[in-house]
Symmetry: C3
Subunit: 264 residues, 3 copies
């Protein structure tokens, strides 16, 4: 069974390589997919959104995610099975996994793996990816039963994740920046239907805070340097600048409000 | 059969991880080699040069490349077979693949995969790596015939790539910066023979624009901070600064002219 | 048998991808673990420390390491077998491998692979990762005997690596920064016992140069922005700032001295 990894460890240091080594000791043959290790440091919500978006494109398997600002404290470490696809998620119980389990039909079984028999000893206080989440995930991928990986846990006790909601205000749509990718493209908390309901349609000119953008299908539909609104590859409304950086232009960071006003 | 990937997606975001997931759904067992995902954004020529240089060191297989500033427009998506090694290239038809197919004896079979039966639905307008190029490449690596991956295409209709040519001028060689690597080393469009013909020989002192460098074999042959000219690992004449950054020193970017004048 | 890689090549360029391609030509099926390619350029000591720390978490195999400022000169290229675990190390003989072989019981067999029959021809002057270390490592992983990979070499001739030693001075411990990770966390050359001997204990307040930090178990034990001393995941005393950058706060780089004075 495949193991996927998603973390905020970055690729400069040896953290990810050590996690791969740990997997190879426990499950020498399982395929490993690194979904990304570039989640912004401590970006639990960015991690949760990215995991939800990426997982449907990966085969079902054991999906380990680590964005863990409370590592070494009493926060819970969990492993759980989703209703759909038999997917297993492993990570800290801080909301990081919540959007993914919602996407796959909710949680049917959960265990607290903080004291899992699969964890490595001695346990460090700061690197539970290496010592807890990855060895637990590798053991599960190698065929160990979920029930044996930790103590039973009521799925209702798992920590959910709240996302900001867009709202209508004086003919405008007040949305929020959810994530900013490496190119400065900004995903908004606006689904295709929300955009339509707010009167934002292909070809429209839209005021975006104090700037103006055009609703198009793809980058090359506007000139270099121009702001565009488009449905991104995850079907959210998003902001970009063709061959530029929308986050820089608009000075937006995750969680910031964005006022969208169609100009007809 | 192996799949190799080369893109300008970077490693900060989940784009590459999602492409790996897509491959694993279609071809669970094929080896994957990430040649690089650090091609400068929209750097079609850098991508083409890097693909040509790197491929001979990888086993024959399916070689997917994505540097695609016109994604979502009417530009063609193609898959093709080279005369040598049975290598298959997949990518946008914008010149990105041209140097590689020249290196492997030209194209013997080509198909337009824009509407390939292997592509993912719904098709996004901005992420054809995930939705077209990678699933087509994975299907081919899993054994699907090239002819079934799209509509037949005359190889002569494929988009070529023109490189700038060096020229002689008043005892100097006017060359061009082709690529700049992460250390600031600059590959020039000057082959070993061109350098010899221009009188540039091991041990020589050469004027490089307004600086002076020495022709040596390797970095440690000059002191720290000194400019060197050397035959790089791809057998092109290149500029570097030992423990420094030649692109910064010389203020050079890809396509810029470089005047090389041997000082005897 | 597994191959692990550790280099200072970075991930922007195609260097690592080409090394993977070379491995796949020689040993199509061996698992590959990239321990890290983010060692600071020419950081032989950082590479040596990272290799020593990471290897125990990876399965025994062939461990290729390349941080090689003297590439192309007469420095030796070596492959060697450690006393424990049958681990094989391959790399330049510049101290990079020394801490790892000490960790695994010393060297029982060594060969000079500078003119190895496994190296690629033509040999470049600047990319011996591709042309020497990786093909030698891949051949060994594929089952070639170590003795056939090069010329016999007395293990006593291998280049060792000296680390700075901490010292006591007027009630303070003068330590050194060994490595700085991507978050600005600083590992010191102070083992758990050294810290205890110097009177540095959990809960203590400690003067660190002109700053003050608290000895705790994990990041979240202090407020955001505060300096902490903790035992890191490799069991060294380390400095960090919760949600901040200790190297920036303390203006420390590898090799710098750090004065630690317990305040009781």
């Amino acid at each position: 069974m495949i193991v996927t990894l998603l973390t905020d460890y970055g690729l400069r240091d040896e953290f990810v390589g050590v996690c791969h080594g740990v997997i190879r000791r426990i499950a020498p043959e399982v395929p490993i997919v690194d979904l990304t290790h570039g989640i912004p440091r401590h970006g639990v919500r960015e991690g949760a959104l990215t995991l939800r978006n990426a997982l449907p494109y990966a085969p079902p398997g054991v999906h380990v995610a680590v964005v863990d600002p409370q590592v070494g404290t009493e926060r819970r470490a969990v492993a759980l099975r989703c209703a759909e696809d038999d997917r297993v998620l492993v990570g800290p119980d801080n909301g990081l996994l919540a959007l993914a389990w919602e996407r796959f039909g909710g949680v049917v079984e959960a265990v607290d793996v903080s004291r899992s028999p699969h964890r490595l000893e001695p346990l460090s206080a700061t690197f539970h990816g290496r010592d807890v989440f990855v060895p637990v995930g590798a053991a599960l991928a190698a065929g160990e039963p979920l029930a044996d990986a930790g103590d039973p846990l009521d799925p209702d006790e798992l920590t959910p994740l709240e996302l900001p909601q867009p709202r209508r205000e004086e003919g405008a749509l007040i949305a929020h920046a959810l994530t900013v990718d490496g190119y400065g493209n900004i995903a908004l908390n606006v689904a295709h239907e929300d955009a339509l309901a707010a009167g934002i349609r292909l070809g429209d000119s839209v005021r975006v805070n104090s700037h103006v953008g055009t609703v198009v299908q793809t980058f090359a539909d506007v000139s270099a340097g121009e702001l565009l609104l488009y449905e991104d590859a995850w079907r959210s409304l998003a902001l970009a600048v063709n061959r530029g950086d929308a986050a820089e232009l608009l000075r937006l960071r995750p969680d910031d409000e964005v006022r969208l006003a169609p100009r007809g």
